[in-house]
Amino acid sequence: MTKNYKRTESLYDVATHYCAGCGHGILHRIVAEAIDELGVREKTIAIAPVGCAVIAYDYWRLDCAEAAHGRALAVATAIKRVQPDKVVFTYQGDGDLAAIGTAETIHAANRGENLTVIFVNNAVYGMTGGQMAPTTLLSQKTATTPLGRDAKLAGYPLKISEMLALLDGVYSVERTSVSNPKEVFNTKRAIKQAFENQIQNKGFSMVEVLSMCPTYWDKTPVDAAKWIEDHMSQYFKLGKLK
């Protein structure tokens, strides 16, 4: 019998530091598979965020730059402009992409930079201990919204993908999730497409992925996945936005 499901080349054979049931691990695999299926590993440059995925380069067999918190798309812009023949992508959390890096995100998108963006929305700041993120749901309890997020005090969950979809510079934006196997396959399709867009010089493509953080949602992995389906995706609607 042949073994069909193997570790894909762009992924090192190591255990990750991610918590049980965390979406980052699934997404790392998906990104690596997409790169390998497109045969572009040796010309891909990744930009790691500041967040739980900061050491993504310990898992991906890829050239990688670490950016300051929120500046991944500024770093990516320059790398891609200098090396237009390379495949350049950022992998960023909600705090990185939609709070501290909002300006970098909007302007890279608006310039129509030919980049691929993997936006991991887990509705909290995982790395720093589960504080409120721009995408934290209303009434969601976090370390800094102990009574639940109150719109009067902390505003509303930020729909940055919808905002970016309005920009002329953006080629494609899609929101998916990794909460069940069907959605995982769909996310894989969307991410591969976002890389293909770049290879075909189509321009700025972003995939927002709703991703579990069981640890700071205070849930079991199964309940965390269910929470995406019952709550998160009710507010952050899945599908192609542009």
Partner: protein
């Protein structure tokens, strides 16, 4: 080929960058350095480079980080308030050891201050304005010619040591027009291999440009490597200029455009038969400490003159031998010490009875 051109200090730094092989520039407008950004916008794309007007200085410096991580020579420029925003990126550039050239055409602060020239970012430039134990090479031109020459040198040193070079200019020097000579062949900086650059892991192990070290102890090891590099630079790259040091009774210490005015005051005092010298640091980091100390074996009076309320004077005081007195005269907030004021201060210090 030697060419003679009339240029502003700002334009000269842009032209020098392109001549040095700069292929990427990102910047955000701010006075008094706008001519430089405009020069790069016009010239760089025509000469094989990339120009981006970034959304902020935070973005500009991170773009430079990305371009340099790709292995090309890159630069950003700004003036004081914008340089404050670049401190984040400068710290990452130091940590990740990517080369970069950053120009600060200093203006008056604190806060928004004003667009008038100043030298009040000396501490920020030489003591590490961002977080962490790091250094930048800080070069202080005093003429348009030197703005050109030191920018080119800045690129060379940045690549050589994988460090940020800051060219510390000011609003006077940036706006000043002077004739300069450029010699493309003679001064072309050496090409330096960058096997660490991010170019796609083709037929080699992946390269990582990072400043994070997760394991306890690794950041300390990394810092020890950086400190070793800084000591090497300090031992090799000090530059300064001295005038009338052999017989001087009092030496005026000044850098940048301030040293031009101080130099004129020294010349005038010499005409009057007063034995005054001039000591001009060209590298502010590494500061010419040993060289100044040597002068202080014989000279016992130093007057530091700055367009600030006293920043470089601290380094001068730390450098001289005990027994030597260091006095200070400065104006800030856009005020520029005049020749007459410097002459008066020199005479007062030289001859306290009067």
């Amino acid at each position: 080929m030697i060419r003679k051109i009339l240029m502003s200090g700002n334009e000269a730094m842009g032209e020098a960058a392109i001549a040095a092989g700069c292929k990427f520039y990102a910047g955000y407008p701010i006075t008094p350095q706008n001519e430089l950004t405009a020069y790069m916008a016009t010239e760089l794309p025509q000469r094989g480079g990339i120009f981006i007007q970034s959304e902020s200085e935070l973005a500009a410096i991170s773009m430079v980080y990305g371009a340099s991580a790709s292995g090309v020579r890159s630069m950003t420029s700004s003036s004081s308030p914008g340089i404050s925003l670049k401190q984040e990126g400068l710290s990452y550039i130091a940590g990740a050891q990517v080369p970069a050239v950053v120009i600060n055409v200093m203006r008056a602060g604190p806060g928004l201050g004003n667009i008038w020239p100043a030298q009040s970012d000396y501490f920020q430039a030489t003591k590490g304005g961002g977080h962490g134990d790091y250094r930048m090479i800080v070069l202080a031109p005093s003429s348009v010619q030197e703005s050109y020459d030191l920018t080119r040198l800045g690129f060379h040193l940045a690549d050589r040591y994988r460090i940020a070079s800051m060219i510390l200019s000011d609003g006077l020097l940036g706006q000043m027009m002077e004739g300069i000579e450029t010699d493309d062949e003679a001064r072309a900086p050496l090409k330096i291999d960058k096997p660490w650059a991010l170019t796609g892991a083709q037929g080699r192990r992946p390269n990582i440009v990072q400043s994070l070290y997760i394991r306890r102890g690794d950041v300390e090891k990394h810092n020890i490597v950086l400190q070793k590099k800084y000591r090497l630079i300090a031992s090799r790259e000090v530059r300064f200029e001295g005038k009338f040091l052999d017989d001087a009774k009092l030496v005026v210490v000044a850098y940048g455009s301030m040293s031009r005015i101080a130099g004129a005051a020294v010349d005038e005092l010499r005409k009057q038969g007063k034995k005054i010298g001039l000591f001009r640091p060209i590298t502010l980091w590494p500061f010419p400490s040993k060289e100044l100390e040597k002068v202080s074996k014989r000279v016992k009076k130093f007057l530091v003159v700055e367009m600030s309320y006293g920043q470089m004077v601290e380094d001068a005081r730390l450098s001289v031998k005990c027994g030597a007195q260091v006095s200070f005269y400065g104006r800030g907030g856009g005020g520029v010490p005049t020749e007459k004021q410097i002459e008066r201060e020199v005479l007062k210090f030289l001859n306290p009875k009067h």
